[in-house]
Amino acid sequence: MSIIKSENLVHKFSVTDENDNIIEENSALDGVNIEVEEGQFIAILGHNGSGKSTFARHINALLTPDEGTLYVNGWDTKDESKLWQIRQNAGMVFQNPDNQIIATVVEEDVGFGPENLGVPTEEIWDRVEKALKSVGMLEYRHSSPNKLSGGQKQRVAIAGVVAMKPKCIVLDEPTAMLDPNGRKEVLKTVKELNEKENVTVILITHYMNEVIDADKVFVMDKGKVVMEGTPREIFTNVEELKKLGLDVPQVTEVAHKLKGEGINLGDCVLSIKEFKEKYKQVTGKDIASLNIKESAKKYDLEEPSEIRDNKIVSLTNSDLDDNSKENHKKLILDAKKLTYIYEEGTANEKGALNDVSINIHEGEFLAIIGHTGSGKSTLIQHLNGLMRADSGTIYFNGEDIYAKEFSMPFLRKHVGLVFQYPEHQLFETTVLEDVCFGPKNLGLSKDEVLDAAKKALKQVGLGEKYYEKSPFELSGGEKRRVAIAGVLAMNPEVLILDEPTAGLDPKGRDKILNQLKKLQTERNIAIVLVSHSMEDVAKYAERLVVMSGGKKLYDGECREVFSHYKELEEIGLAAPQVTYLMAESGKTVMTVDEAVDILR
């Protein structure tokens, strides 16, 4: 028997005016047919707004169909007498880890579900222990959820569902707000549940590499299922997926592009190992045997490196043209030996800074990477004076920003900082007014303010028709661009962005990153991008700074830093997938196109 079966499921959202007349009807789901067998690992893909989350809420009977039927374990979700059985059997994990934990202690939160089901006290304890064990969080049972990392919180949320003994778990973008380590943790947990406890898993995501091991993938667009099949079948359609605003793993893309060059590695390649085998079969060449003269010697990966022993290694290589050019550029920000220690006992004890020096030149594209708690957020808040270092100095255009006569508002005008999830700081009634907030604070005249705001909105790709809209009716990606425009309107020389693409789908992500690149090249604004995504960093940044444990570990041209991918792994980071693919060739490859160029 199939555990979930939807027949022509339709869900409409209606927009009403003040008198409750329906003005507009949108179908979030438009005739969805999905069938899931017990014990399967199912992935549902789709860009933001494709209807995948709405579908998830139907499975849990949080929403009921307007048309069509949905059966969960044989029960019709419209049958109210079965409501609690349906919710118990189809547990749900949501995107935001903070907004689904109810209790202040981990074990009590896990017990919340069983309590609601009326499970006897003794058994609740038993279930809680088992559930926490199954997600590997038993040792944290007495902790406060606020002290846990994002990945750990999501595992607690999963345990909370497991404790209800469901047949099926629906996870609605559980990794969207997590860093790469958290993502791995959650995914591993989910896979184990599926394999060991035979729980049916429905994973909703837009990270393609999370669905490779799924039994079946459904791709949704505009409320419809547009593709279904095994991951291999789905990833064959690279072009189509891209049209839907989705991505494919880098190896798959390389293989796809090679096909266009006449090297056919078969329909679909999903892993590095598979790629290498097929490449050898087809061309008779090993990737390791590819002879790349230009740089094979310079970055010999096998060479025992002394990097780990040295605390800070500057990789600036004087004989590289790029770098010597860099040196002629004007130095804007020069931070020297910054040290910042959080007050003991506060939740933020991690993330301190220890003797960090960093400089930012005019018009460069710099990326800062590091895992959560590495100090990168603390560092960027120093750069515009929101935090003050315990020791060390920062020079802005040669002036000491800690000097008494130095004006912080002046610094903040020139060094713009966009926080993570910046859309949370929007507050005005219209988009235009919100963007005006920054320039207004600078004391510009009314015309100048409007001018600056309009220019900034244009630069993030939002035209006149957005001016009078409320920021709150926009899509997630649009809101974020409004927020970025809000900082941009102050006309900064340096624009620092803390994970500007977090939670966006691939299309929204590319849009923002492309616009940043444009700002850099056209307006000569220095961009400092804090990111978790190595693929993005490799594609856009020129220079890369790696933070770990409050220290600067590497600082140099992207390619050089990525050539140390083994060391990066040790601190919980990684290089782009293509770098691994091509590692044996002796060249540090950063983008899909480069790889294709070599392999061709």
């Binding site: 118990q88 949501f94 109810i102 309590e115 499970v119 005008k413 926080f419 949370h424 900082v487």
Partner: protein, 275 residues
């Protein structure tokens, strides 16, 4: 700055006070508050202070941490003290300048008020520091359970309180973040007059309210998804049960209160006799 508020925060450590039944601690807090308002003599306050110091010592919460919570409330204390100081009339004028008169009674009253408020704040924060919000909500639910008869939604209110506590640190962090984000956009929360300051709060409050509503909706959905259906038919993972130490604590409380009353009477008698 904003992180310094420790009121309502739970301090995790294992102590006899932490292990007490929340109902015991609720009553103790109530008794303590009442005792502060009953007391009328320095001796009484001395006993109250000793009792509190004893509780803090037993609770193993560092005194520094307990006092930190006061820091954010210093202004309220100063404000009320000044108010009383200036507006208490009396015969013994100690200081006079224009219309400002400070009497000896005013000074006594102000000192008494500060002591009372301080003890009250510390007393109640000892309660929150040693009791998990969920336990406290449980305690309240049980203690006021009799109100269910007259259709007071006791369970729902207890649930609301415990959730509110869970979100305090999250909202504090969020406030901090939004504040910084707006400062980065040139907002100024510090300078200017009262009206300008109040206006300046809009960029902080609007996002905060919006995100709180969003969180509330998310949380409600998550609770529903986990079969939450009000108090009916719910079991408890940690049902409240009195232990021996709870009865002892009840005894201590009553003892304390009797002592305060006796001190009061004695002090009154002594004063009468002296007069």
């Amino acid at each position: 700055m904003i992180r310094d508020i420790t009121i309502g925060q739970y301090y995790q450590v294992d102590s006899i006070i932490h292990r007490l039944d929340p109902r015991v601690k609720l009553l103790a807090t109530l008794i303590y508050v009442v005792s502060l308002f009953v007391t009328n003599s320095p001796v009484g306050y001395a006993i109250a202070i000793l009792f509190l110091v004893g509780c803090i010592a037993l609770s193993k919460v560092p005194a520094k941490y307990v006092l930190k919570g006061l820091k954010s409330l210093v202004y309220i204390l100063i404000f009320s003290a000044t108010f009383i100081l200036l507006f208490t009339g009396g015969e013994h004028i100690v200081f006079k300048y224009g219309i400002i008169k400070i009497s000896r009674e005013g000074i006594y009253n102000a000192i008494e008020m500060v002591v009372r408020l301080t003890l009250l704040l510390i007393g109640s924060s000892v309660m929150t520091l040693t009791t998990k919000p969920t336990d406290m909500a449980d305690g309240l639910e049980k203690a006021f359970g009799f109100l269910k008869v007259i259709k007071v939604p006791v369970h729902e209110m207890a649930m609301m309180i415990s959730i509110a506590f869970r979100f305090i640190p999250i909202l504090v962090e969020e406030t901090d973040k939004i504040m910084k984000a707006q400062i980065a956009r040139g907002a100024d929360f510090e300078s200017g007059g009262l009206i300008k300051k109040a206006k300046g709060l809009i960029p902080l409050l609007v996002p905060l309210i919006i995100s709180s509503i969003k969180r509330a909706l998310d949380l409600a959905t998550a609770m529903e998804a986990r079969c939450y259906n009000g108090g009916e038919g719910r079991t408890k993972m940690k049902p409240l049960k009195y232990k021996k130490c709870d009865f002892v604590a009840y005894g201590v409380q009553v003892g304390y209160f009797v002592m305060i009353i006796v001190t009061n009477i004695v002090v009154k008698l002594v004063i009468k006799n002296v007069m």
